[in-house]
Protein backbone atom coordinates (compact mmCIF):
# COMPACT_ATOMS: atom_id res chain seq x y z
CA UNK A 1 0.00 0.00 0.00
CA UNK A 2 1.34 3.44 -0.84
CA UNK A 3 0.72 6.43 1.35
CA UNK A 4 -1.72 9.14 0.38
CA UNK A 5 0.19 12.33 -0.45
CA UNK A 6 -1.01 15.41 1.37
CA UNK A 7 0.11 18.54 -0.46
CA UNK A 8 -0.39 22.03 0.93
CA UNK A 9 0.08 25.36 -0.78
CA UNK A 10 1.87 26.90 2.23
CA UNK A 11 1.16 30.36 0.82
CA UNK A 12 3.22 32.98 2.61
CA UNK A 13 1.09 36.09 2.22
CA UNK A 14 -2.02 35.18 4.17
CA UNK A 15 -3.19 33.20 7.16
CA UNK A 16 -4.96 30.73 4.84
CA UNK A 17 -1.56 29.57 3.56
CA UNK A 18 -0.29 28.80 7.05
CA UNK A 19 -3.56 27.05 7.82
CA UNK A 20 -3.08 24.76 4.83
CA UNK A 21 0.49 24.04 5.88
CA UNK A 22 -0.38 23.26 9.48
CA UNK A 23 -3.27 21.07 8.43
CA UNK A 24 -0.95 19.03 6.22
CA UNK A 25 1.62 18.75 8.99
CA UNK A 26 -0.95 17.72 11.56
CA UNK A 27 -2.28 14.94 9.36
CA UNK A 28 1.06 13.59 8.19
CA UNK A 29 2.91 13.88 11.52
CA UNK A 30 0.23 13.38 14.15
CA UNK A 31 -3.03 11.91 12.94
CA UNK A 32 -2.08 9.54 10.12
CA UNK A 33 1.72 9.21 9.99
CA UNK A 34 1.50 5.64 8.67
CA UNK A 35 -1.10 6.28 6.02
CA UNK A 36 -0.05 9.68 4.68
CA UNK A 37 3.01 11.73 3.83
CA UNK A 38 3.62 15.20 2.52
CA UNK A 39 5.67 16.29 -0.47
CA UNK A 40 7.34 19.69 -0.92
CA UNK A 41 5.18 21.71 -3.27
CA UNK A 42 8.19 23.88 -4.06
CA UNK A 43 10.00 20.83 -5.35
CA UNK A 44 7.03 19.82 -7.49
CA UNK A 45 7.00 23.30 -9.04
CA UNK A 46 10.61 22.96 -10.23
CA UNK A 47 9.52 20.11 -12.50
CA UNK A 48 12.41 17.89 -11.32
CA UNK A 49 12.06 14.26 -12.32
CA UNK A 50 12.50 12.98 -8.76
CA UNK A 51 9.76 15.30 -7.49
CA UNK A 52 7.44 14.17 -10.24
CA UNK A 53 8.19 10.58 -9.43
CA UNK A 54 6.98 11.05 -5.88
CA UNK A 55 3.46 11.90 -6.91
CA UNK A 56 2.86 10.78 -10.49
CA UNK A 57 0.06 8.23 -10.49
CA UNK A 58 -0.39 8.37 -6.70
CA UNK A 59 -3.48 9.34 -4.76
CA UNK A 60 -3.13 12.91 -3.54
CA UNK A 61 -5.13 15.29 -1.41
CA UNK A 62 -4.44 18.97 -1.93
CA UNK A 63 -5.02 21.65 0.68
CA UNK A 64 -5.05 25.16 -0.70
CA UNK A 65 -5.45 28.44 1.09
CA UNK A 66 -7.34 30.48 -1.45
CA UNK A 67 -9.18 29.94 -4.73
CA UNK A 68 -5.97 30.35 -6.73
CA UNK A 69 -5.58 26.60 -6.14
CA UNK A 70 -1.79 26.51 -6.32
CA UNK A 71 -1.44 23.11 -4.68
CA UNK A 72 -4.17 21.56 -6.78
CA UNK A 73 -2.94 22.97 -10.07
CA UNK A 74 0.71 22.16 -9.55
CA UNK A 75 -0.06 18.65 -8.32
CA UNK A 76 -2.25 17.98 -11.32
CA UNK A 77 0.37 19.38 -13.70
CA UNK A 78 2.95 17.01 -12.28
CA UNK A 79 0.70 13.99 -12.79
CA UNK A 80 -0.61 13.45 -9.26
CA UNK A 81 -4.12 12.00 -9.00
CA UNK A 82 -6.02 14.47 -6.86
CA UNK A 83 -8.70 12.46 -5.07
CA UNK A 84 -9.90 15.36 -2.98
CA UNK A 85 -9.13 19.06 -2.77
CA UNK A 86 -9.74 21.43 0.11
CA UNK A 87 -9.47 25.17 0.68
CA UNK A 88 -8.87 26.55 4.14
CA UNK A 89 -10.73 29.72 3.20
CA UNK A 90 -13.87 27.59 2.79
CA UNK A 91 -13.43 26.41 6.33
CA UNK A 92 -13.61 30.05 7.42
CA UNK A 93 -17.12 30.27 6.03
CA UNK A 94 -18.35 28.38 9.05
CA UNK A 95 -16.52 30.74 11.36
CA UNK A 96 -17.66 34.18 10.39
CA UNK A 97 -15.77 36.99 12.07
CA UNK A 98 -13.20 34.68 13.66
CA UNK A 99 -9.59 35.88 13.73
CA UNK A 100 -7.47 32.92 12.70
CA UNK A 101 -4.13 34.71 12.98
CA UNK A 102 -1.50 35.65 10.40
CA UNK A 103 0.74 33.81 7.96
CA UNK A 104 3.34 33.69 10.75
CA UNK A 105 1.30 32.28 13.62
CA UNK A 106 -2.24 31.02 14.19
CA UNK A 107 -4.48 32.06 17.06
CA UNK A 108 -6.15 29.48 19.30
CA UNK A 109 -9.25 29.88 17.17
CA UNK A 110 -7.14 29.33 14.08
CA UNK A 111 -5.83 26.06 15.50
CA UNK A 112 -9.35 24.93 16.29
CA UNK A 113 -10.39 25.50 12.70
CA UNK A 114 -7.50 23.47 11.33
CA UNK A 115 -8.21 20.70 13.84
CA UNK A 116 -11.70 20.54 12.43
CA UNK A 117 -10.42 20.45 8.86
CA UNK A 118 -7.80 17.83 9.71
CA UNK A 119 -10.48 15.51 11.10
CA UNK A 120 -12.52 15.92 7.95
CA UNK A 121 -9.56 15.14 5.71
CA UNK A 122 -8.60 12.08 7.78
CA UNK A 123 -12.01 10.58 7.11
CA UNK A 124 -11.36 11.17 3.43
CA UNK A 125 -7.95 9.50 3.70
CA UNK A 126 -9.61 6.37 5.07
CA UNK A 127 -12.07 6.35 2.19
CA UNK A 128 -9.32 6.75 -0.38
CA UNK A 129 -7.25 3.97 1.14
CA UNK A 130 -10.24 1.64 1.00
CA UNK A 131 -10.81 2.48 -2.65
CA UNK A 132 -7.16 1.99 -3.51
CA UNK A 133 -7.09 -1.50 -2.07
Amino acid sequence: MSKVKIISCSGIGKVFGLMSRETALKITNELKPNETETVCLGHIVTGDADAKQKIEGYSCITIDGCPKHCAYKNTTLAGGIVKAQYKTVDQMKNHKGVDAGTATALTDDGWKIIDELSEKICTKVDEILKEDE
Partner: protein, 283 residues
Protein backbone atom coordinates in the same frame (compact mmCIF):
# COMPACT_ATOMS: atom_id res chain seq x y z
CA UNK B 1 -50.16 30.99 -5.63
CA UNK B 2 -48.18 32.80 -3.04
CA UNK B 3 -44.77 31.52 -2.18
CA UNK B 4 -44.13 29.48 0.96
CA UNK B 5 -40.95 29.43 2.98
CA UNK B 6 -39.00 27.67 5.66
CA UNK B 7 -38.80 30.58 8.08
CA UNK B 8 -35.85 31.13 10.39
CA UNK B 9 -36.77 34.12 12.59
CA UNK B 10 -34.49 35.72 15.18
CA UNK B 11 -37.16 35.52 17.87
CA UNK B 12 -35.27 37.87 20.21
CA UNK B 13 -37.68 37.90 23.12
CA UNK B 14 -36.20 40.79 25.03
CA UNK B 15 -36.38 43.33 22.22
CA UNK B 16 -39.30 44.71 20.35
CA UNK B 17 -37.70 44.04 16.95
CA UNK B 18 -37.33 40.39 17.93
CA UNK B 19 -41.00 40.21 18.92
CA UNK B 20 -41.94 41.67 15.54
CA UNK B 21 -39.80 39.03 13.83
CA UNK B 22 -41.73 36.35 15.70
CA UNK B 23 -45.08 37.94 14.86
CA UNK B 24 -44.13 38.13 11.18
CA UNK B 25 -43.16 34.45 11.20
CA UNK B 26 -46.51 33.48 12.70
CA UNK B 27 -48.39 35.65 10.26
CA UNK B 28 -46.63 34.02 7.32
CA UNK B 29 -47.52 30.53 8.52
CA UNK B 30 -51.14 31.67 8.77
CA UNK B 31 -51.34 33.17 5.31
CA UNK B 32 -49.09 30.82 3.38
CA UNK B 33 -47.92 27.24 3.56
CA UNK B 34 -44.74 28.29 5.34
CA UNK B 35 -43.19 26.57 8.33
CA UNK B 36 -41.24 28.01 11.23
CA UNK B 37 -37.83 26.82 12.35
CA UNK B 38 -37.39 27.62 16.02
CA UNK B 39 -33.87 29.09 16.23
CA UNK B 40 -33.42 27.90 19.79
CA UNK B 41 -34.36 24.31 19.14
CA UNK B 42 -32.59 24.36 15.78
CA UNK B 43 -29.33 25.14 17.50
CA UNK B 44 -29.64 22.16 19.82
CA UNK B 45 -31.30 19.55 17.59
CA UNK B 46 -31.10 20.58 13.99
CA UNK B 47 -32.25 17.19 12.74
CA UNK B 48 -35.75 18.22 13.73
CA UNK B 49 -35.82 20.77 10.91
CA UNK B 50 -33.57 19.32 8.24
CA UNK B 51 -36.50 18.19 6.14
CA UNK B 52 -38.19 21.60 6.08
CA UNK B 53 -34.92 23.26 5.18
CA UNK B 54 -34.45 20.93 2.25
CA UNK B 55 -37.96 21.25 0.93
CA UNK B 56 -38.63 24.97 1.09
CA UNK B 57 -36.73 28.14 0.19
CA UNK B 58 -35.29 29.68 3.32
CA UNK B 59 -36.50 33.02 4.63
CA UNK B 60 -34.31 34.52 7.34
CA UNK B 61 -35.84 37.20 9.55
CA UNK B 62 -33.46 39.28 11.66
CA UNK B 63 -34.72 41.71 14.24
CA UNK B 64 -31.74 44.03 14.64
CA UNK B 65 -28.24 44.59 13.38
CA UNK B 66 -26.79 41.73 15.38
CA UNK B 67 -28.40 39.44 12.80
CA UNK B 68 -28.49 36.33 14.98
CA UNK B 69 -30.77 34.48 12.57
CA UNK B 70 -28.41 35.16 9.66
CA UNK B 71 -25.52 33.98 11.76
CA UNK B 72 -27.28 30.73 12.59
CA UNK B 73 -28.04 30.24 8.89
CA UNK B 74 -24.40 30.74 7.96
CA UNK B 75 -23.22 28.56 10.85
CA UNK B 76 -25.35 25.73 9.50
CA UNK B 77 -24.31 26.52 5.91
CA UNK B 78 -27.90 27.05 4.82
CA UNK B 79 -28.73 28.50 1.43
CA UNK B 80 -30.72 31.66 2.05
CA UNK B 81 -33.45 32.53 -0.41
CA UNK B 82 -34.71 35.76 1.18
CA UNK B 83 -33.63 37.96 4.03
CA UNK B 84 -35.66 40.42 6.04
CA UNK B 85 -34.31 42.77 8.66
CA UNK B 86 -37.09 44.18 10.84
CA UNK B 87 -35.16 47.30 11.86
CA UNK B 88 -34.36 48.14 8.23
CA UNK B 89 -37.93 47.49 7.14
CA UNK B 90 -39.19 49.76 9.90
CA UNK B 91 -36.88 52.52 8.72
CA UNK B 92 -37.86 52.24 5.09
CA UNK B 93 -41.55 52.31 6.04
CA UNK B 94 -40.99 55.20 8.47
CA UNK B 95 -42.27 53.22 11.42
CA UNK B 96 -40.59 53.73 14.76
CA UNK B 97 -40.07 50.61 16.81
CA UNK B 98 -40.81 51.24 20.49
CA UNK B 99 -39.15 49.54 23.42
CA UNK B 100 -42.32 47.78 24.45
CA UNK B 101 -42.42 44.01 24.10
CA UNK B 102 -46.15 44.01 23.36
CA UNK B 103 -46.65 45.14 19.78
CA UNK B 104 -48.34 48.44 19.04
CA UNK B 105 -50.68 49.16 16.14
CA UNK B 106 -47.89 50.57 14.00
CA UNK B 107 -45.73 47.59 14.60
CA UNK B 108 -48.52 45.22 13.67
CA UNK B 109 -49.02 47.28 10.55
CA UNK B 110 -45.36 46.76 9.71
CA UNK B 111 -45.92 43.01 10.00
CA UNK B 112 -48.76 43.28 7.49
CA UNK B 113 -46.70 45.36 5.10
CA UNK B 114 -43.82 42.89 5.12
CA UNK B 115 -46.17 39.91 4.82
CA UNK B 116 -47.74 41.47 1.75
CA UNK B 117 -44.39 42.20 0.25
CA UNK B 118 -43.10 38.68 0.78
CA UNK B 119 -46.15 36.92 -0.54
CA UNK B 120 -47.05 39.09 -3.53
CA UNK B 121 -44.14 40.95 -4.96
CA UNK B 122 -42.10 37.85 -5.68
CA UNK B 123 -43.95 36.76 -8.80
CA UNK B 124 -43.60 40.15 -10.40
CA UNK B 125 -39.87 40.48 -9.94
CA UNK B 126 -38.83 37.04 -11.01
CA UNK B 127 -39.97 37.57 -14.56
CA UNK B 128 -37.69 40.52 -15.25
CA UNK B 129 -35.13 39.24 -17.70
CA UNK B 130 -31.59 40.49 -17.56
CA UNK B 131 -30.30 42.78 -20.21
CA UNK B 132 -27.27 41.57 -22.10
CA UNK B 133 -24.08 43.06 -20.76
CA UNK B 134 -20.75 42.74 -22.54
CA UNK B 135 -18.25 40.35 -20.99
CA UNK B 136 -14.82 41.50 -22.05
CA UNK B 137 -13.32 44.88 -21.43
CA UNK B 138 -10.04 46.57 -22.07
CA UNK B 139 -8.14 47.65 -18.98
CA UNK B 140 -5.68 50.22 -17.92
CA UNK B 141 -3.34 48.92 -15.26
CA UNK B 142 -1.72 50.59 -12.30
CA UNK B 143 1.05 48.60 -10.67
CA UNK B 144 2.30 48.72 -7.15
CA UNK B 145 4.87 46.11 -6.20
CA UNK B 146 3.40 42.77 -7.16
CA UNK B 147 -0.17 44.11 -7.23
CA UNK B 148 -1.91 45.14 -10.40
CA UNK B 149 -5.00 47.29 -10.18
CA UNK B 150 -7.27 47.13 -13.18
CA UNK B 151 -9.70 49.78 -14.35
CA UNK B 152 -11.80 49.26 -17.48
CA UNK B 153 -11.20 52.03 -19.98
CA UNK B 154 -14.64 52.47 -21.43
CA UNK B 155 -18.29 52.27 -20.51
CA UNK B 156 -17.90 52.25 -16.74
CA UNK B 157 -18.61 55.02 -14.28
CA UNK B 158 -17.44 55.02 -10.66
CA UNK B 159 -18.26 56.65 -7.38
CA UNK B 160 -15.58 57.60 -4.93
CA UNK B 161 -16.49 54.62 -2.78
CA UNK B 162 -14.92 52.38 -5.46
CA UNK B 163 -18.14 50.95 -6.81
CA UNK B 164 -18.83 50.87 -10.54
CA UNK B 165 -21.87 51.06 -12.76
CA UNK B 166 -22.26 49.94 -16.36
CA UNK B 167 -25.33 51.31 -18.08
CA UNK B 168 -27.25 49.74 -20.97
CA UNK B 169 -30.41 51.66 -21.82
CA UNK B 170 -32.37 52.17 -18.63
CA UNK B 171 -30.75 49.18 -16.98
CA UNK B 172 -27.45 49.09 -15.16
CA UNK B 173 -25.15 46.58 -13.65
CA UNK B 174 -23.22 47.49 -10.52
CA UNK B 175 -20.19 46.02 -8.79
CA UNK B 176 -17.01 46.84 -6.95
CA UNK B 177 -13.70 48.00 -8.39
CA UNK B 178 -10.57 45.86 -8.52
CA UNK B 179 -9.14 48.04 -5.75
CA UNK B 180 -11.82 46.82 -3.34
CA UNK B 181 -11.14 43.16 -3.91
CA UNK B 182 -7.40 43.70 -3.56
CA UNK B 183 -7.87 45.57 -0.29
CA UNK B 184 -10.24 43.00 1.15
CA UNK B 185 -8.30 39.99 -0.12
CA UNK B 186 -10.22 36.68 -0.21
CA UNK B 187 -13.92 37.46 -0.10
CA UNK B 188 -15.80 34.80 1.86
CA UNK B 189 -19.28 36.23 2.29
CA UNK B 190 -21.72 38.07 0.06
CA UNK B 191 -24.93 39.52 1.41
CA UNK B 192 -26.98 40.58 -1.58
CA UNK B 193 -29.28 43.58 -1.68
CA UNK B 194 -32.94 42.72 -1.75
CA UNK B 195 -34.46 42.07 -5.15
CA UNK B 196 -37.35 44.40 -5.84
CA UNK B 197 -36.22 47.00 -3.35
CA UNK B 198 -35.73 50.64 -4.22
CA UNK B 199 -32.30 52.04 -3.71
CA UNK B 200 -30.95 55.60 -3.60
CA UNK B 201 -27.70 56.72 -5.04
CA UNK B 202 -25.08 56.00 -2.36
CA UNK B 203 -27.50 53.63 -0.63
CA UNK B 204 -26.32 50.23 0.49
CA UNK B 205 -26.46 47.53 -2.16
CA UNK B 206 -25.40 44.59 -0.04
CA UNK B 207 -22.12 43.83 1.67
CA UNK B 208 -19.08 41.71 0.97
CA UNK B 209 -16.76 40.40 3.61
CA UNK B 210 -13.31 38.90 3.87
CA UNK B 211 -11.29 37.81 6.86
CA UNK B 212 -10.02 41.39 6.98
CA UNK B 213 -13.12 43.55 6.79
CA UNK B 214 -16.70 44.08 5.73
CA UNK B 215 -17.26 46.32 2.74
CA UNK B 216 -20.57 47.99 2.12
CA UNK B 217 -21.40 48.20 -1.57
CA UNK B 218 -22.29 51.86 -1.99
CA UNK B 219 -24.67 52.01 -4.92
CA UNK B 220 -23.51 54.41 -7.65
CA UNK B 221 -27.01 54.91 -9.05
CA UNK B 222 -30.61 55.13 -7.90
CA UNK B 223 -33.37 52.76 -8.99
CA UNK B 224 -34.88 49.37 -8.29
CA UNK B 225 -32.85 46.21 -7.80
CA UNK B 226 -34.11 43.79 -10.45
CA UNK B 227 -31.61 40.96 -10.23
CA UNK B 228 -28.74 39.95 -8.04
CA UNK B 229 -25.80 37.84 -9.08
CA UNK B 230 -26.87 34.48 -7.66
CA UNK B 231 -23.50 32.92 -8.40
CA UNK B 232 -21.86 35.06 -5.75
CA UNK B 233 -23.82 33.41 -2.96
CA UNK B 234 -22.07 30.10 -3.60
CA UNK B 235 -18.84 31.58 -4.92
CA UNK B 236 -18.11 35.06 -3.58
CA UNK B 237 -14.52 34.59 -4.77
CA UNK B 238 -15.75 35.51 -8.26
CA UNK B 239 -15.50 39.11 -7.05
CA UNK B 240 -11.78 38.56 -6.49
CA UNK B 241 -11.28 36.77 -9.75
CA UNK B 242 -13.33 39.02 -11.98
CA UNK B 243 -14.65 42.16 -10.29
CA UNK B 244 -15.88 43.80 -13.49
CA UNK B 245 -17.38 40.75 -15.19
CA UNK B 246 -18.37 37.57 -13.37
CA UNK B 247 -18.22 39.33 -10.02
CA UNK B 248 -20.96 41.89 -10.73
CA UNK B 249 -23.23 42.46 -7.75
CA UNK B 250 -26.68 43.42 -8.99
CA UNK B 251 -28.76 44.80 -11.83
CA UNK B 252 -30.83 47.90 -11.39
CA UNK B 253 -33.61 49.59 -13.28
CA UNK B 254 -32.52 53.21 -13.31
CA UNK B 255 -34.77 55.94 -11.99
CA UNK B 256 -32.75 59.15 -12.31
CA UNK B 257 -29.50 58.44 -14.05
CA UNK B 258 -29.16 61.96 -15.47
CA UNK B 259 -28.91 63.36 -11.97
CA UNK B 260 -26.85 60.45 -10.61
CA UNK B 261 -24.24 61.10 -13.28
CA UNK B 262 -23.25 64.39 -11.64
CA UNK B 263 -21.68 62.47 -8.81
CA UNK B 264 -19.93 59.78 -10.82
CA UNK B 265 -16.46 59.67 -12.30
CA UNK B 266 -15.43 58.50 -15.72
CA UNK B 267 -12.29 56.43 -16.34
CA UNK B 268 -9.86 59.37 -16.41
CA UNK B 269 -10.91 60.82 -13.10
CA UNK B 270 -11.36 57.51 -11.33
CA UNK B 271 -7.96 56.31 -12.47
CA UNK B 272 -6.39 59.36 -10.83
CA UNK B 273 -8.28 58.66 -7.61
CA UNK B 274 -7.32 55.02 -7.68
CA UNK B 275 -3.64 55.88 -8.05
CA UNK B 276 -3.87 58.23 -5.09
CA UNK B 277 -5.64 55.64 -2.97
CA UNK B 278 -3.17 52.92 -3.84
CA UNK B 279 -0.20 55.15 -3.06
CA UNK B 280 -1.65 56.42 0.19
CA UNK B 281 -3.35 53.43 1.69
CA UNK B 282 -2.26 50.27 0.06
CA UNK B 283 0.20 48.20 1.97
Amino acid sequence: MSKSYAILPCNGLDKCAGCIAKELAIKLTETTDSQIICPVLYRTVDARYNKIVEEKPLLVIDGCGTRCASKIASEKSLKVDQKINISDEAKSNSITIENNLRLSKDELKLVDIITDKLTKEKEKVEKVSSTVFPQIFEYEIYKKDKFTFKVPKEGFLFNENDCWVYVVGNKARIGVADYVQHSLSDIIFFEPPETGSKIDQFGEAGTIESGKAVFEVVCPVSGTITTINENLIESPELINESPYEKGWIAEIELSDFESDKDLLYDFDKYFEILKRKVDEFHV
